[in-house]
Structures are given as C-alpha cells and as structure tokens.
C-alpha cells in the first residue's frame, strides 16, 4: 500500500501553473501549504463532500484549465450522487482523485461503514466512463499525464495506506487567506 506523501509528491510534480487544484478537507489540505504546488490551490478545512462539486463549478467556468479535485472516500461516501452530477455536466477538464483508505482520517481514523465499495464500478455506473484504480505513485503520475488528452471527466481511485503515525501538519492557512490567494 502506498503512503500519502508519495502520491502527493507525484501529484505536485505533475501540476503546472495552468492547472487548478481543489482539495477536500483533511490531511491533503493540511499538507498542501508545505509542498511546492505550482497551480492555484483552493483547500477546504470543512465542508465535507464539497470538493468535487466546487471543482465542477470551477471547471465549467474555466474550460481552458485542467482542474483536479482531491476527495476522500469518507466524504464521497456521504454524497456519491455527485458522480452522476459530474457525468451529466460532462466537463472535459475535470479529474477527480479519490483517496481511499477506508477511514475518516480527519476525525481520528474511525473506519468507514464496513462495505466493499467498488469506486471504479460506481463511477462507471454513474456515467463516468474514465475511472481507474491506482496502486502506486508512478501510476498516478502516468494517469494524470494520460488524462491531459482525455476530453471527459475522470475519476482516479488511489489505494492509500492508512498510517495512524503519520505526522500530518495542522491547518496553517485561514479560509480568508486561501480565498484571497486563489486567483485564476
């Protein structure tokens, strides 16, 4: 199982200043201010489940920019309906990256309901044709590169190691700072 930082490093290495990154709450949002992200970042500290629809609004408004949304499996389990919304809207420039570790990591690592949710199958069933499971960081980089030429929305499902000992930095930016700095 691949640890979070390896995926984050691969993601950050892939993004350029013409891209846009929207992150759901939790560990990714807390790590991003400490990483050399070249793309504008809008990171949530709350609003669980809002990252993908927020990114959809950005993507539809800015069709010339590649928008990447980061969401956790716990958040998406709360509102999987958004997969159908994305499929219906057909943004050509939106890639959703789902961090699947089966845990509510932000609230202490409690397990998700014990059901073997197949996110790739669920996304395809909702109408997102391009959905694939990723098992390592090089695979994420390669998939993101491939998707630059794909003109349909996509979902990448990352198998992420849940590491209770991971030293996740605290939130270091206030919402008003994030909002003010997010300029496209």
């Amino acid at each position: 199982m691949t640890p979070r930082r390896a995926y984050l490093d691969a993601l950050v290495a892939h993004l350029g200043p013409g891209d846009v990154l929207v992150s759901g709450l939790g560990a990714n949002a807390r790590w991003l201010p400490h990483l050399p992200v070249r793309a504008p970042v809008f990171a949530l500290c709350d609003a669980m489940g809002a990252a993908i629809p927020l990114a959809l609004g950005v993507a539809l408004t800015r069709p010339g920019r590649r928008v990447v949304a980061l969401e956790g499996d716990g958040a998406l389990l709360m509102s999987p309906n958004v997969l159908a919304t994305v499929a219906a809207a057909r943004p050509a420039n939106l890639t959703c990256v789902l961090w699947a570790n089966g845990r509510y990591e932000s609230s202490g690592g409690q397990p998700l309901p014990d059901a073997p949710v197949d996110w790739v199958a669920l996304a395809r069933a909702a109408g997102i044709a391009h959905a694939e499971r990723i098992g390592d960081a090089p695979g994420l980089g390669a998939a993101l590169a491939r998707l630059r030429t794909v003109r349909t929305p996509a979902l990448l499902v990352l198998d992420v190691l849940f590491d209770p000992a991971e030293e996740i930095p605290p939130y270091s930016e206030r919402p008003e700072e994030i909002r003010a700095r997010f300029r496209l």
Partner: protein, 164 residues
C-alpha cells in the same frame, strides 16, 4: 414576459453565469426558463448541497453562481452554507421555492413552510420573498448584487404564483 423569465432576466442582469439546479415543480419551470438563456449555464445537480458548491466554484473561477432549489433542499444546506459559503465568504444567490406557506396549502409541504423563515433567521441569512406585483427582474438583480457585495449568501423565496 412571464415571472420565470423575469427572474432569469434578473439573474442575467446581475451577471450570473451559472445556475445549478435541483428541481421541484416550480423550480423545474424556472430552470426551463434558465435553459433558454444564452448567458446562463444550467447545471443539473443531484442534490442541493452540490448545487451550492457548484455555484461557489463558478464564483471562485471568476463567474457568478446561483443555486435553484426547493425549501426542502434549502433545509439540507445548513452545513455547506456555514462551512463553505460563510467560512470562505463566497457570493451565492439561492432562488428557493417556498413550499407550504400560506400560498401553498398542501399538507405535506406545510411542515417545510412553517420552518423556512425561522431557519433562515436562525442561520442569519439575508432573504426576501419575491414580490410579483413589483419589478421582479430588479428584485432578483438586487439579490445578486447583495450576495456579491456582502460576499455571502442571499436567499430569494419564490412562490408558484411568481412564475406565472
């Protein structure tokens, strides 16, 4: 021009570029009018919290967003309104069909009608009832302006009569 078209004209006049919608009978009629606008992108959302977030995404990207929904859906939206719209101070105008008030005496809507205004007050959100006897287009435009100027939400409650 019917009321639905006047509401859409108000959204257009306010510079709204994207309207994310979850229909009920009344919002469905409004959304149909919005689809006829060359200046509005209508996004069909599966749930109302999504509609709010989609509208916020449009605002963050330099457009202006509106969310269209029934008051049942508004009542679902307390979390996203507090933790996204208010926390990040994003303009978002909501056009909400106010089912179950005195103009809509349907028993299964009545519980929603009883709590809608009180909920908006508890959430400290600015709101008005549309007044179809006045300039509806101007009212909607002012709602959008208020959301933009205050960098927050503004709720316009409408009735089925307002769409006629």
């Amino acid at each position: 021009m019917d009321g639905a078209s006047r509401i859409v004209a108000g959204l257009e006049a306010g510079g709204v570029t994207l309207a994310a919608a979850v229909p009920d009978t009344w919002i469905g009629a409004l959304t149909a009018a919005a689809r006829r606008s060359p200046r509005l992108r209508v996004v069909d959302a599966a749930r109302e919290e999504e509609a709010v977030a989609i509208a916020c995404g449009a605002a963050l990207a330099g457009g202006r967003g509106a969310a269209l929904m029934q008051n049942a859906g508004l009542l679902n939206c307390g979390g996203v309104l507090a933790s996204l719209v208010e926390l990040y101070r994003i303009p978002c105008v909501l056009v909400v069909s106010c089912r179950g008030d005195w103009r809509d005496p349907v028993y299964y809507h009545a519980p929603k009608g009883r709590v809608t205004e009180a909920t908006l007050a508890a959430w400290r959100l600015p709101w008005i009832h549309a007044d179809r006897t006045g300039d509806l287009t101007a009212q909607v435009r002012r709602c959008v302006d208020f959301a933009v100027e205050s960098r927050g939400a503004f709720v316009l409650l409408i009735s089925g009569e307002d769409l006629a």
